[in-house]
Each structure stands twice: as structure tokens, then as C-alpha cells.
């Protein structure tokens, strides 16, 4: 079997453009031909800085961003132009966890209402939904009586666990995690990541894990893709990409994140300076080339 046949999700030459602002403005191309694939039960880490287009990839897969061209295949089926009805059916297979646990839960619905929403949408009865909600809460280590309470009674980490429970509710095969821990404190972040790992082991769900933090992605992913200005600049095994990258941008990204060890950090800083030096030299050479 080739790698293509194994994959659950395949994105090929994906272009996304947003309309430009103003009269007759040029559309802004955010994704410029993205290729990636996610295999069943795998975590693919997607790292990039703000404006790189990493969130847009997730939204395009979920049908929330305007795809200009290219293909997104889920389980062999082309889903770029799925009609609204098919989209709703796809919800059974593809779910999402958003970055901000404070705005991704409706503040006026109880946790129980939020969690039973996808279940009811898939045609469960109210009673079935209620018992299922209790199970879900247990699976994300929240007390069962949380169902009757409102989001504001919970901390950020707890809310994010509710969001995870919502994504798990209808047993999807792929969850798009868009910066799921970047709004959380360090120690809380760790518990949420451990929970995601545990759930993946138990359910075999595949994760597209989008983050700006290379260290988090390294701990979570089997493979890592690095996105820079709408293009994937490096794609490979997690340990290779996150410890010995070949692309200069990835090198810079890796070395720029400070480590909590003064001696090591000093070494890193020196290395980063070297990489920058090299890039500047290359740019200067390219400039001289162009000038000639």
C-alpha cells in the first residue's frame, strides 16, 4: 500500500484567497498550494507563525474558508465542494477544537446543552443524549454535575476540556485542533495535552494539531509540517523536523523559542545569530545576483 492509499485526509495543491478590501482590490492569497496528508490515528502537527495560513488550512478542511482551487479528500471522497447537506453529514467524521475556550462555548447555554447539541443534530433522542453527555464529561475528567452549569463557572482549562468533549461527542475520525492550548497556563496546558494523547490512544482518532509552538507540536505529533507565508516549507518525522531541520526558516523558528535553561539558551542564541548571519549573506548574494 502506498502512503496515499493509507491516508484519511489528503490535501493537494490547496489555494485559498480572501477578497481584497476596497473597490477592485486584488484578492489576498493566503494559501499558495498546500500539500499534506493525515493518516488514521496519526497526529500531524502544523506549525507556523501568525499570518502563515495555518488556521486557514484547518478552516478550509472544515468548510469554513473559501477554497479557490485544489482538492481536499477525506476517506477518498472529494469534500471541497460538498453541499450543505453533505457538510452536515461530514460533521460525524470531522470535528474541531478551537483556540479560545472563552469564546468557543456559548455563554448562555449550560455545558450539557452545548454537549448534547451535536448529538441531537445526529438524531439521538434527548434521553440518549443526556446519558451520553455524562459519559463524555467523565472521559475528559470533569464531574458529571458539570452538565447543569454555565461556561463562566469554569476555568480556561476546564472549558477547553468541555470543547474536547464536544468534539468527541459523535466519535469523529479526525479532529482539527486549532491552537487548543495556547490560551492556557503552562501546567494546565500539560494536562490538556495529556488528555488529548490519552483520547487518541483509546479512540484512534486522527488529529491535525495546529500550533505556533514547536515544543508543543513536537510532544504531540508523529509528523510535523512547517508552514510559512502560505507554503509548507518542511514536512517530515516529528523528531527530525523539530530537532534537526534543513529549511532555514524552520531552523530560525526552532532556535528563536527560548528554553528555560540559561546556559543552553546562551548557546541557542549564538546559533540563531549564526543562522541569521547565513540568511543575510544569502539574501545579499541573491540581491547581487539580481542586480547584475
Amino acid at each position: 500500500m502506498s502512503a496515499q492509499d493509507q491516508s484519511l485526509l489528503t490535501v493537494q495543491d490547496l489555494h485559498v484567497s480572501f477578497p481584497g478590501r476596497g473597490w477592485r482590490a486584488q484578492p489576498k492569497e493566503v494559501l499558495k498550494g498546500i500539500n499534506l496528508d493525515v493518516r488514521p490515528g496519526e497526529t500531524l502537527g502544523l506549525v507556523g507563525e501568525s499570518g502563515s495560513g495555518k488556521t486557514t488550512i484547518g478552516r478550509a478542511i472544515l468548510g469554513l474558508a473559501p477554497v479557490a482551487s485544489g482538492s481536499i479528500r477525506f476517506d477518498g471522497e472529494e469534500i471541497v465542494h460538498a453541499n450543505p447537506r453533505r457538510r452536515r453529514e461530514l460533521a460525524r467524521d470531522i470535528q474541531v477544537i478551537f483556540q479560545d475556550p472563552y469564546t468557543s462555548l456559548n455563554p448562555s447555554l449550560t455545558i450539557g446543552d452545548t454537549l448534547s447539541e451535536p448529538l441531537l443534530a445526529q438524531g439521538l433522542s434527548r434521553d440518549e443524549a443526556r446519558s451520553h453527555v455524562a459519559e463524555l464529561l467523565t472521559s475528559v475528567n470533569l464531574p458529571a454535575d458539570a452538565a447543569d452549569r454555565l461556561p463562566r463557572e469554569f476555568s480556561g482549562g476546564q472549558r477547553q476540556r468541555v470543547a474536547i468533549a464536544r468534539a468527541l461527542a459523535i466519535k469523529p475520525r479526525l479532529i482539527v485542533c486549532d491552537e487548543p492550548v495556547s490560551a492556557l497556563d503552562l501546567t494546565t496546558q500539560r494536562t490538556v495535552l495529556d488528555l488529548l494523547l490519552k483520547i487518541q490512544r483509546e479512540t484512534g482518532v486522527a488529529l491535525l494539531f495546529i500550533s505556533h509552538d514547536l515544543a508543543v507540536v513536537r510532544a504531540m505529533s508523529h509528523r510535523v509540517a512547517v508552514i510559512h507565508r502560505g507554503l509548507i516549507v518542511e514536512f517530515g518525522q516529528a523528531d527530525v523536523v523539530t530537532s534537526d531541520p534543513t529549511d532555514p526558516y524552520t531552523q530560525r523558528l526552532l532556535l528563536a523559542a527560548p528554553v528555560p535553561n540559561p546556559a543552553k539558551q546562551r548557546e541557542r542564541r549564538a546559533e540563531l545569530e549564526k543562522v541569521r548571519e547565513r540568511e543575510r549573506a544569502m539574501q545579499a548574494a541573491a540581491g547581487a545576483e539580481a542586480g547584475r
Binding site: 496546558q189 508523529h222 523559542a257
Partner: protein
């Protein structure tokens, strides 16, 4: 209300959301508000008799006994008789039916027209939005009174028809309200999440959107009802109605014609109108308090801020560092219901000239409050409840505001977390730098501009002259942070307080800003208090570190000591949560039974 406190649900390793949970609002919520209660009771006193008018009124409102015209109040006829000898009380009670009924009709029409169109326009946008907004603007540009007068001339003097037209005229207020709120909610992540959950649009609108629109519409209804009653009475008073119905406005009209003979006749319909309208407005205000300001804490008395306890410690106590020294600092907030909540429980900090101290902690640890207390910019309701802060050996606690202002900028400068929201979008970078320089240093405009350009060069901005003329939206976040650092350096301070200066930035930009801070610190011997949650940033920049948890400092020392040999359990836990250099996962292998 049986509700668990947030503390009950939080697991030990997570800090619960600090917001105190107010009781959930229900139908009875307005009753707990005294103003709301009073207005509801008064409105009931008006509405209920109107409904049961045939049983309550002494006689038919049309029964005229000409012989008793203008007779005063008497048993059985409490308000007396009008010019045609009709019982005033009966006419008031029956009049409420037409007056309130008319207002209700107008409201109903306005709601039916305004709310669904507002929902559709806000949720789907596009051509329907443009079209309906255009129609709304058209209606709003019509003068209501003139339209009503014209309608009366064409369609005849029927109250109900006029009220329907008035409903159309006030519908735009509901349309605009609904459209605005819905368009906002449309962008919320939880609406996206619902779409991804596979919910059809009508269910999303029903569950997530309507619930947000509900409260503002209820408030608007109460307000518009008052306006509708007033407008209707105005029309009747001008005599623009059939005159056959006993409405309050018509009664006013009739009483006004006989104002010389029986001035008391004006009183009763006037009172009825006044009480009803003001009750509706008060009810609207009460509803707004109850439905909209949920969770918002009323601001405590601002007088607390001025109340500073006398300074107890001598500023030149031995063992205190020269640049900044904090001893036993306590910060407390006045709770809305009275009482205090202490959030910083007596901490000590010392920074020598040229030293960089990292204050590390997670959200809610009190690190930012400590920085604010040192700067003297604690938010409303907060105050230093005990302790001493010296900057350059000067005690700043209890210092007059003017002296304090002098200290800020000259000696202490501040770099905030969100660079973009700390620049005013409507002014150029140049004017935002020049203004404080002119004020603080008393330079001419030309000298201040030269100084600002020097500062931008100092923070390594490539083309300072061009940058001066840019607006904040034209520069990147990293550049904005450089501009703020430039501003902080303008008066050559000795101490820089930076509150999460790189948290909002990308890592590659963060590295550059840290490099800049390091250079400034080295070249100018700047002392820095760096407030951050990022242990890597501390390792990169700081000499010493203080770890803060729940308002106390649990561990302090040189960065090398604390990071290499953490002693406190909390520091150990923080270091343990760091993911840098952690093991990667074992290689992926195809699952044995692939789902399906």
C-alpha cells in the same frame, strides 16, 4: 439558588475562573430589582383594570348624563364627570384598553417586521442585507408625524390603522438592533463550532443567536412601548382620531377645551399617561440592569483609592536595593458588596541598578497586579493595602499624584503586553512619540521630532523618518512593540517595567525584541522588572527570578540556581510542565483494524 462555587469544580492543578458567578437570570429576575418591581406593580394596576374593565368600571364609558356635567368627585364616581356628564373613572379604565391596545398593536407590527428581517440580514448578509438596510434607511428618513397625518387624511380616522402605520415606522429600530447583534454573534467561535457539529442554520439561529438578541429586544420593547403611547396620545390630543373611542389622548383633548371650567379633568388622563410611560421607561432600565449587566461588577467607591495608610517603614532601611525595593507589599480590591479581597499577600522584591529581575507566574498569580502597584496604576477599586515601595530610595506610597507622575517616565518606564492596543489607531507613530517628549522634556516640536527619530533608531527601526508618518495599522506587531519601547526610553529611565512584553509576538519576533531589550539594558545600565509566564524568556534575559503563586513569592534566586535546582514544589511543577526537548512520540503505524 443552589449553585456550587467555582472552587468546587476546579481540580487542584487548575485555578478556577475568578469571575464570581451571579445567579442565573430567569423570568423573575426583574422582580429582584426594586425599580423593576415597583414599575411592574404600577403597570399591573393599569393593565389589569383595563382587561376587566366591564366588571370594574362604575358604568359604561359612553353613558352620558348631561345634567351631571362637570360634577366633582363623589362616592361611586371617584374622579367626577366630564363635560358631557360621563364618568371619568370609567373612561380612564376603558381608555387604557384602546391606548395600551394601540401601543401593543404598533409594537407587534414593529416586532414582526423588524426582528426576522434583522436576523436574516445579520446572519446571511449579502444582497438581503443591502436591500433591507436600504429600505430601513428610507423609512427612517420619513418624518413620523407627517406620515401619520397624511395616513389619517387618506385612510380615515381609525386608531388601529394609524397604529399599524406607526408600527411600520418604528420597525427600523428593531431591525437595526437585531441586525447589529446577530452580525456580531455570527463571527463567534461557538457559532462556527455549531456549524461544524452539523447543525442546520435554523437550529443555530434558534439556539445560539436568538438567545443573545432576546434581552436587548425586551428592553427595546419597553422603551418603544412608552414612545408609542406618547405618540398615540399626541395624535389624539391634536384631535386626529375618530373621537368615538375613549382614549387617554382624546380625554386630554376634551379636558383641555374646558380647562377654565374644570382644570381637574386634565389631571386624570395626564396622570395615567405619565405613570404608564415612566413605568415603561423605568422597567426598561431595570431590565437592562438585570439582563445586560449580568456579571459586571459595580465599581466600588473611588474614594478608597485616595485612602492611603500612613507610611510605616523607613525608606532607607538596611538591606534594601537601590533602584527598586518592595517590602511586604499587599494589594487588595474592594468588593462590590463591601469588604476586601486581597490578591497580593505581602511580597518583597529588590532590583539593583542594571539588574534584570524576572517575575514569573501563571494567570491569577498576582504578578501583573504587583507591577501595576509599583507603577501606581492599579485599576479602579484596587489599592496598596500595606507595605512599602521605594524607587531610587524614595518612598512612593502616599506620594502626591503630581510627584508620582514625575517619577513615571523619568525614572520608571512601562512596556505593556499588547503593543497594538496601546497605540492610538488615529494618530501617526510620530505624533504619539513627540507629544509625551514635548510634555516631559519641554522641547520644541522640531527638537522633539529629532529626538523621536533618534529613539526609533535606538530601537533598530530601519527607516525612522518614514516610520514617523505611519499609522499603527500600517506596522507589524513587532515594530509596534519597538515603538512602545522607544517611547519608554524617551526620558532615559533607570527602571523599565515590562509586562509580558513579548507574549503577543511570534517567536522569531520575540527573539528580536528580547535582543533589543538586552542591548538597551547592557548599553544603558537599565534595571528591568520583567513580568512573564514564559520560563524561556526569563532564562534568556534575566539575572534573577522570583516565582509567584497565589499572591506570594514561593521561590527566588539567580536564574541559574532556581532553574537548575528548583526547591519549591510549585517551581518544580512549572519546570516539569515545560515541553522543550521532551521525547517525541514513537513512530506512527497503521492501526490494525482501520475504522470502517
Amino acid at each position: 439558588m443552589t449553585q456550587l462555587t467555582p472552587a468546587d469544580v476546579s481540580s487542584p492543578n487548575e485555578s478556577a475562573a475568578p469571575a464570581s458567578a451571579p445567579p442565573r437570570s430567569g423570568v423573575r429576575a426583574p422582580l429582584r430589582n426594586p425599580l423593576g418591581m415597583i414599575s411592574i406593580i404600577l403597570l399591573a394596576l393599569v393593565v389589569l383594570p383595563a382587561i376587566f374593565a366591564p366588571f370594574l368600571a362604575p358604568q359604561s364609558p359612553e353613558l352620558a348624563e348631561l345634567g351631571r356635567a362637570f360634577e366633582g368627585p363623589q362616592p361611586g364616581h371617584l374622579f367626577g364627570f366630564d363635560s358631557a356628564g360621563r364618568d371619568v373613572l370609567s373612561r380612564i379604565v376603558f381608555g387604557a384598553r384602546y391606548t395600551l391596545g394601540g401601543a401593543a398593536l404598533a409594537l407587534g407590527v414593529a416586532l414582526v417586521l423588524g426582528v426576522p428581517t434583522g436576523l436574516l440580514a445579520g446572519y446571511y448578509g449579502k444582497w438581503f442585507d443591502s436591500l433591507s438596510t436600504w429600505a430601513t434607511n428610507l423609512i427612517m428618513s420619513l418624518p413620523a408625524m407627517v406620515v401619520l397625518l397624511a395616513a389619517r387624511a387618506i385612510l380615515g380616522p381609525t386608531v388601529w390603522v394609524l397604529m399599524v402605520i406607526m408600527g411600520v415606522l418604528v420597525a427600523p429600530s428593531f431591525f437595526r438592533l437585531t441586525r447589529g447583534i446577530v452580525a456580531n454573534v455570527r463571527g463567534e467561535l461557538y457559532v462556527d463550532a455549531a456549524r461544524v457539529s452539523g447543525l442546520p442554520d435554523w437550529r443555530i439561529i434558534g439556539r445560539h443567536v436568538l438567545i443573545v438578541v432576546r434581552a436587548p429586544i425586551i428592553i427595546q420593547v419597553a422603551l418603544v412601548a412608552g414612545v408609542a403611547i406618547g405618540l398615540q396620545a399626541g395624535l389624539e390630543f391634536l384631535g386626529i382620531s375618530s373621537g368615538s373611542m375613549p382614549t387617554w389622548g382624546a380625554m386630554l383633548n376634551e379636558a383641555f377645551q374646558n380647562i377654565q371650567r374644570a382644570p381637574m379633568l386634565l389631571l386624570w388622563p395626564g396622570l395615567a399617561l405619565g405613570i404608564t410611560s415612566s413605568c415603561l421607561v423605568l422597567l426598561a432600565a431595570a431590565l437592562r440592569d438585570v439582563l445586560e449587566d449580568r456579571g459586571a461588577e459595580p465599581v466600588g467607591a473611588s474614594a478608597v483609592k485616595a485612602a492611603v495608610a500612613p507610611v510605616s517603614m523607613a525608606p532607607d532601611a538596611p538591606g534594601r536595593a537601590g533602584l527598586l525595593s518592595v517590602r511586604d507589599l499587599k494589594v487588595a480590591y474592594t468588593l462590590p458588596g463591601g469588604g476586601d479581597k486581597e490578591i497580593v499577600h505581602g511580597i518583597d522584591l529588590d532590583i539593583a541598578p542594571g539588574e534584570v529581575l524576572g517575575l514569573v507566574g501563571e494567570s491569577g498569580s498576582g504578578k501583573t497586579q504587583t507591577a501595576f502597584a509599583i507603577l501606581g496604576i492599579l485599576p479602579e477599586g484596587g489599592r496598596i493595602s500595606a507595605g512599602s515601595i521605594t524607587i531610587n530610595g524614595q518612598e512612593v506610597r502616599g506620594m502626591p499624584d503630581a510627584a508620582r507622575r514625575g517619577l513615571r517616565g523619568d525614572v520608571v518606564a512601562y512596556v505593556p503586553q499588547e503593543p497594538m492596543s496601546n497605540l492610538d489607531p488615529s494618530f501617526t507613530i510620530g505624533s504619539q512619540l513627540i507629544e509625551p517628549i514635548r510634555y516631559k522634556l519641554g522641547l520644541s516640536r522640531k527638537d522633539a521630532r529629532a529626538k523621536a527619530i533618534d529613539l526609533l533608531r535606538l530601537v533598530e527601526i530601519a527607516d525612522p523618518e518614514r516610520t514617523m508618518d505611519l499609522h499603527p495599522h500600517e506596522i507589524s506587531g513587532g515594530m509596534a512593540q519597538r515603538v512602545l519601547i522607544a517611547g519608554a526610553m524617551s526620558c532615559d529611565p533607570a527602571l523599565l517595567i515590562a509586562d509580558e512584553p513579548t507574549t503577543a509576538l511570534d517567536v522569531t519576533v520575540q527573539a528580536e525584541v528580547l535582543e533589543l531589550l538586552r542591548k538597551l539594558q547592557r548599553d544603558r545600565g537599565l534595571g528591568v522588572l520583567l513580568v512573564t509566564h514564559n520560563l524561556g524568556v526569563v532564562a534568556d534575559l534575566c539575572d534573577t527570578v522570583a516565582v509567584m503563586q497565589h499572591g506570594v513569592i514561593v521561590e527566588r534566586g539567580t536564574v541559574t540556581d532556581v532553574f537548575d535546582h528548583p526547591q519549591d514544589p510549585y517551581t518544580l511543577k512549572l519546570m516539569g510542565a515545560v515541553l522543550d526537548g521532551s521525547e517525541t512520540r514513537e513512530a506512527w503505524h497503521a492501526p490494525l483494524e482501520v475504522a470502517k
